[in-house]
C-alpha cells in the first residue's frame, strides 16, 4: 500500500497517485482536476476530499486567483430526485 494507492476521494475511489499524475500531466487547477478525475463529485459532495484535491492541484500549478476553488455545491445534503416532484406512474 504505497502512498500512490491511498484513496483520497472515497466516494469516487480516486487514489492519490491518480490525482498527482493527472494534475502533473495536464497542469490542472483544482476545478479541472475535479472534472478530470471525478474526485469531489461523489455522494458526499466533496466534503472529505475537497481540500485535498485543492492542495494537490495547487502543488502542480501556480494559484490562479481568477479561478474559483472547489466549494460546496447545493443542495447541502443529497436530495432524491423523486422528492423534487416525482410523477407517480400508478
Amino acid at each position: 500500500m504505497t502512498d500512490r494507492d491511498m484513496i483520497v476521494c472515497r466516494c469516487e475511489e480516486v487514489t492519490y497517485g491518480e490525482l498527482v499524475d493527472t494534475a502533473g500531466q495536464f497542469a490542472c487547477n483544482s476545478r479541472e482536476l475535479k472534472l478530470r478525475t471525478r474526485a469531489g463529485m461523489g455522494y458526499c459532495g466533496g466534503r472529505t476530499c475537497r481540500s485535498l484535491v485543492d492542495a494537490i492541484a495547487l502543488a502542480a500549478t501556480e494559484r490562479d486567483v481568477t479561478q474559483i476553488t472547489l466549494k460546496y455545491q447545493p443542495p447541502v445534503r443529497p436530495v432524491h430526485f423523486g422528492d423534487l416532484g416525482a410523477i407517480p406512474n400508478d
Binding site: R10, E12, E13, R36, T37, Y43, C44, R47, P78, H80
Partner: protein, 112 residues
C-alpha cells in the same frame, strides 16, 4: 454472544431496553429500540452496510455523525438514509445498496 459492551467501566451496566426486530438484506436482527441502525447492526456483528455503486467494494460506518454518507442504506423503500443517524424501529426493512449495472466511469479510461 453480542459485541455490545454490557458493563462499561465508566458508563456502568447497560440497562436492558425494549428490543425491536428489523430485517437487513433479508435477515432478521434485533436491536435496542431507538439506537442507530448502524449501531444495532454493529452489535449484531454486521460491519458491511452496502457496496460501492461502481466497484462493489464493501462499505460501512466511517464518520458515524451523519457527515460522510458512507453508511447510507435503503430503509422501507427510501434510499440514501444514513444508518448512523436513523433510529431503528420495529419491523424496519433495510437493504444495503450494491454495485449498479451500468458503470459511470468506464469512459474515463479512454480519455482520462
Amino acid at each position: 454472544m453480542t459485541e455490545r459492551i454490557l458493563d462499561h467501566p465508566v458508563l456502568g451496566v447497560l440497562e436492558p431496553d425494549q428490543t425491536v426486530t428489523f430485517t437487513f438484506n433479508g435477515m432478521k436482527y434485533e436491536g435496542r429500540c431507538g439506537e442507530p441502525i448502524a449501531a444495532a447492526l454493529l452489535a449484531a456483528g454486521i460491519r458491511t452496510l452496502r457496496h460501492h455503486e461502481e466497484s462493489g467494494t464493501p462499505r460501512g460506518i466511517y464518520c458515524n455523525i451523519g457527515h460522510c454518507f458512507e453508511c447510507r442504506v435503503e430503509v422501507d423503500g427510501h434510499q440514501g438514509v444514513r444508518a448512523c443517524l436513523t433510529p431503528v424501529r420495529e419491523g424496519m426493512v433495510i437493504n444495503g445498496g450494491g454495485a449498479l449495472p451500468s458503470p459511470v466511469r468506464d469512459w474515463r479510461k479512454d480519455n482520462a
